[in-house]
Amino acid sequence: MLILHCPCCGIDAAEIELAPGGEAHLKREGPGSSDAALETYLFTRDNPRGVVLERWRHAYGCGKWFLAARDSVTQEVYGTYAAQTHAPPQEIVDRITARHPGWTGAH
């Protein structure tokens, strides 16, 4: 059972306090988008064996969404960060690349 630090309220929250929200940093495709782009947005997930950037909601806490960079194999957590971003902050990227040289992100 994971423990993730909620960057909004500052609590180290156990997984039972959290609700998962799937892959982070998806680009929304609305009207006018191609079928292929829509399919990617709705259904195509990287689901990598390794570094995942993912959404969590502190559902039984402050109620806020945040993002986490986690290794899906080792459960190492490289950091959590605000949901109001388009990419992980540099310090988290540095921690990831220290462990996974050449990592270029999920997309």
């Binding site: 969404w65 080792t74 462990r99």
Partner: protein, 1012 residues
């Protein structure tokens, strides 16, 4: 025979006799006995029948690894199946019965399976019961169900008499296992000032060492253990728990402990079991090692036992499992058993040592005691059926030709030891093959890692493959210090305790005895006692292509069931490797999964039963509903009145009465559970235009609008009436079950997508009591209460007003979910109960009738209003339900708009909403499918629609239904067939009922009743 010795027994108190029964027969044991030791003391060798062949089985082990001695324990509300006799502490009045036998343990009909063993090979069920198909239901399945499964489940109507609880604990260091390794590791961590929790699954500290002997720091191991425990108990930063097993290790240092508090004194005050939910920064697993059986023919005959277990019974309980014991081994450790037995005055006719040159110093000691030692020999087969009468010995190198028969009544076997690596493996720790010891051990370079990417688990002592006393102590000493270092604490250098023990000669891996055993011997050489898996079964699985160890496991059932292969895994794996011609490490192990041994469902549930199973949400009027004999419907965490039956009235009759009273005069509904979400801010209108399919930004203040909410996949998610409260605020009503979900959905989009939009949401669901006043006399009632103008002119349909009704601040919404003149009135929650009472009092002259959810459902169905969860199921788009009018064509975007443009959403043959009327007026079965001509590719009948809502309408005096039917709206008047309940369930034929496709609006199609 198996008997109690005149003296001895570390754990037993011979001054305290304890009476118990086994299969109805009375026995006595001593305080401190286990059920297993007491049965052995009473010469009860036969304790159960095996699962598949119903072979007689006896006690093999002395601890958690026991595969055979499973009993049904207790009676009535305290009955529990599959309890291990070896870990059941004896108490006065204990009642146990053996399992898998019929009609009796001594004479069992199922034993015929053993005679048929050659016809019941690996994968037998898969191979035999394929055809014909119809035989499954009536022949194969009933027979398999009767004979499958271990033990019998408690009676479903009997409630567990005991209480259970959860403990949430944080600790810096958790040490699992209270043997010498666990104690040494805990002591080092504790001395450095770390918070330490030390748990031990048995009732005793010290593990095996006091039985196996040697000296630690010049003292008897028992004295060293007592001293160490005393030191730990005196420290404030240490907690110790006996009878507490480390059940599982999970991500980020989460560990489950399973404490059995009153199993040894049933009915004592307090909880029976306690589940420890532990967060540990560092975990030390000092879980010991388990001795392996040897695979020879008849190794399952009662009287054949692990050599170490035999020592345990002699030393710990003063019980000798036999008078004449042959010891068979591939290592030096088993000589300790022979030496102990001899010194206890018992006969040891021979030690059969499979190693060509025998053993080392311990062999010499045995010989000096006059014991016959036979190197390079093994057992060809065990003689005897219900108990051992002798062994046929042979050359280990041969095919099993008998050299000599030796009479004996017990066999002590040792095939070496396997570290208990379960906890290490649960959370991803990897193993490495130790060729010298012939076992898998933890690979410290691939330990389970935590959130920081660093190892959080350290294996110590024999659990880490260090079987020798000195090596185990040194390993544990280092583990305790490493845990402290990982916490960032310093520690004072201290010497490793010094052990004195006899040097041992190397072990020789022996996976089959004799090495070239003939087929008839291999068919009697059991690997997995609990699942009756033999050497020949694994070899057959390999021949049939089950090369992966995980496949071979499932095909043969090796390592399944309650013991999860604690004795059998390595032996089975070695046989498989040999059959495949691949080395053992390459073949690999099956996955170790929690729990280490079965834990009770009670412990998992903890306090979560009955009233506290889950939170119960109560509306302000709940006490009135309870006092009014409401029948309940569960809606999320709410309990809503389904109807209010009067004395002697059926539910059906109550629902019909409530509907008729409402349609004819006046009804009252507690609608407080309806979700109420306030959406406020400069961008609130823009936001709601995205949330709903229709336009909400243009809704004038004072007006209400029905809205649909879709997810990004285009599917209908929720619906409800949206109210414009003011220029910058809207109140969104949601379904009763959907409020939290919808609120979370809104927050998701606000926080994660449009975070620059100025919008605030608040879930106000529980802040208001909401009451629907419904029926032709609804207006008269509100006028009688007084305080607000509720006339058609002042408060037209789909508007709202704020004011005071009967001296109660109220918001009145003119909305209708029944098709009647209807007002939904929201008052502050704390005024709700009083307001409900005022309505009832004032409404008496119109026969005001509270109605429940079923009347609500029937009335909405009579009007053709959809219900989320009935007409929608996560695959239905609003267009399927004829709700095009609620989907804005002007808006550029809303959630789901793009997805609804996909070809599959626009194709013409989607199932669409219609009304359905049976030709005979009956009520269609819920969920029934409309059948179509022909069959699909799988030979199943084609379908063309299904029933989504179906009721008896008292208003119309017949059954009414809604359903989704292909091209439905274009097929008005057509009659189609629906599947119906068969009259005779045993006959496999289709019963149908005919229904006509009609408009879904059955009642008042022009809406004249609601808009008055």
């Amino acid at each position: 025979m198996s008997t109690r010795l005149a003296t001895g027994g570390r754990f037993t108190d011979r001054g305290k006799q304890i009476g118990f029964t086994f299969n109805g027969r009375r026995f006595t044991g001593f305080q401190g006995d286990t059920l297993a030791s007491a049965l052995l003391a009473g010469d009860q060798l036969l304790v159960g029948r095996s699962f598949k062949y119903h072979r007689p089985r006896g006690i093999v082990a002395s601890g958690a690894e026991e595969p055979n001695a499973l009993v049904g324990l207790g009676q009535g509300a305290r009955f529990e199946p599959d309890q291990r006799a070896t870990t059941t502490e004896l108490f006065d009045g204990l009642v146990a019965e053996s399992q898998n036998h019929w009609p009796s343990l001594a004479f069992d009909v199922g034993e015929i399976n053993a005679k048929l063993a050659r016809f019941l090979p690996a994968g037998f069920y898969y191979k035999t019961f394929l055809w014909p198909r119809a035989f499954w239901k009536h022949l194969y399945e009933p027979v398999i169900r009767r004979s499958a499964g271990l033990g019998k489940a408690p009676h479903p109507e009997v409630r567990d008499a005991d209480r259970y609880e959860h403990f949430h604990v944080h600790t810096e260091v958790l040490v699992v296992g209270g043997g010498i390794a666990g104690l040494q590791a805990a002591r080092n961590a504790a001395r450095a000032g770390a918070q330490v929790l030390l748990i031990e699954e048995t009732a005793h500290w010290g593990g095996r060492t006091p039985v196996d002997g040697g000296r630690i720091d010049g003292r008897e191991p028992e004295a060293w253990v007592a001293e160490t425990v005393a030191e730990l108990e005196a420290m404030d930063n240490v907690r110790l728990r006996l009878r507490c097993m480390g059940a599982g290790v999970y991500d980020h240092g989460y560990v489950l402990g399973y404490e059995r508090l009153t199993d040894h004194k049933p009915g004592a005050p307090g909880p029976r079991h306690r589940l420890w939910r532990i967060r540990a920064r560092q975990v030390v697993t000092a879980t010991g090692a388990i001795e392996r059986p040897l695979s020879f023919a008849g190794n399952d005959v009662p009287g054949v036992m692990l050599a170490s277990a035999m020592r345990d019974y002699v030393v710990n309980y003063g019980v000798a499992p036999g008078d004449r014991t042959v010891v068979v081994t591939n290592n030096d450790d088993a000589y300790r058993t022979a030496i102990l037995l001899k010194k206890s005055g018992l006969d040891v006719p021979a030690i059969l040592d499979a190693r060509p040159m025998g053993g080392g110093a311990l062999m010499q000691e045995a010989r000096d005691l006059g014991i016959r030692v036979e190197p390079a020999r093994g057992i060809s087969k065990v003689l005897g059926g219900a108990r051992v009468t002798g062994v046929a010995i042979c050359d280990q190198a041969g095919g099993g030709s008998m050299l000599e028969e030796i009479a004996c009544d017990a066999v002590a076997m040792s095939g070496g030891w396997s570290p208990v690596v379960h906890l290490w493996s649960h959370c991803g720790g990897k193993l490495t093959w130790d060729a010298d010891g012939a076992f898998f051990r933890p690979d410290p370079s691939r330990a389970p890692t935590g959130a920081d990417g660093k190892p959080f688990l350290i294996a110590a002592g024999s659990a880490n493959g260090h079987l020798g006393l000195q090596e185990a102590l040194a390993c544990a000493d280092g583990a305790g210090k490493a845990a402290v270092e990982a916490l960032g604490r310093g520690f004072e250098e201290s010497p490793v305790p010094r052990a004195e023990t006899t040097e041992e000669a190397p072990l020789l891996p022996v996976w089959l005895m004799p090495q070239g055993a003939r087929a008839d011997l291999r068919m009697k050489a059991f690997l997995d006692y609990q699942n009756d898996v033999k050497v020949s079964d694994i070899q057959l699985a390999a021949r049939e292509g089950y090369e992966s160890v995980e496949h071979a496991k499932r095909y043969t059932t090796l390592g399944m069931a309650t013991d999860q292969g604690k004795l059998s895994n390595i032996n089975g794996l070695a046989i498989l490797s040999d059959a495949l011609g691949a080395p053992i490490p390459q073949t690999g192990t099956t996955t170790f999964r929690p729990p280490y041994t079965p834990i009770s469902f009670g412990a998992i549930a903890g306090e979560a039963r009955d009233a506290v199973f889950q939170p119960l949400r109560r509306t302000p009027m709940q006490d009135w509903h309870e006092a009014s004999n409401a029948a309940w419907e569960i809606v999320g965490q709410w309990r809503r009145p389904y109807c209010y039956p009067r004395p002697g009235e059926s539910r059906r009759a109550a629902v019909n009465r409530e509907i008729t009273a409402t349609r004819e005069s006046l009804g009252l509904l507690d609608a407080s559970t309806l979700g109420k979400i306030l959406v406020k801010g400069p961008d609130a209108g823009r936001f709601l235009d995205m949330m709903y399919t229709n336009m909400m930004s243009t809704l004038p203040v004072g007006k209400c609008r029905y809205g649909l909410m879709c997810n990004e996949n285009g599917f209908l998610m929720d619906d409800g009436v949206v109210v414009r409260l003011s220029e910058d605020s809207w109140l969104c009503h949601t379904t009763s079950g959907g409020a939290d979900h919808v609120h979370a959905h809104m927050e998701d989009w606000l926080q994660c997508e449009w975070w620059d939009w100025k919008v605030y949401t608040a879930n106000l669901t529980e802040q208001y009591a909401q009451i629907a006043v419904v029926g032709p006399n609804a207006r008269k009632l509100l006028e009688k209460l007084g305080g607000m103008d509720v006339s058609k002119e002042a408060l037209p349909f789909m508007t709202w007003a704020e004011g005071t009704l009967a001296d109660t601040p109220a918001r009145v919404y003119r909305i209708s979910f029944s098709g009647e003149l209807s007002y939904e009135i929201a008052v502050p929650a704390n005024r709700g109960r009083a307001f409900w009472g005022k309505l009832l009092d004032a409404g008496a002259e119109w026969n005001i009738t509270p109605y429940g959810t079923e009347a609500l459902h029937v009335m909405r169905a009579e009007k053709g209003f959809i219900m989320i969860g009935d007409e929608s199921d996560g695959t239905v788009i609003p267009q399927d339900l004829g709700l095009h009018w609620a989907i804005s064509k002007k808006k550029e975007d809303f959630l789901g708009k793009r997805a609804q443009q996909r070809p599959d959403m626009a194709r013409g043959d989607r199932w669409q909403l219609v009304g359905l009327e049976t030709l005979d007026g009956s009520v269609l079965p819920d969920g029934a499918y409309a059948i179509a001509p022909g069959k699909n590719a799988n030979g199943q009948r084609n379908t063309q629609g299904r029933v989504t809502s179906t009721y008896y309408s008292p208003t119309l005096g017949k059954g009414i239904a809604m359903g989704l039917v292909i091209h439905g709206p274009d097929r008005m008047g057509e009659v189609i067939s629906f599947t119906a309940e068969a009259q005779d369930e045993t006959r496999d034929e289709l019963t149908t009922v005919e229904a006509k496709i009609v408009s879904p609006v059955f009642f008042d199609p022009k809406g004249e009743k609601q808009d008055v």
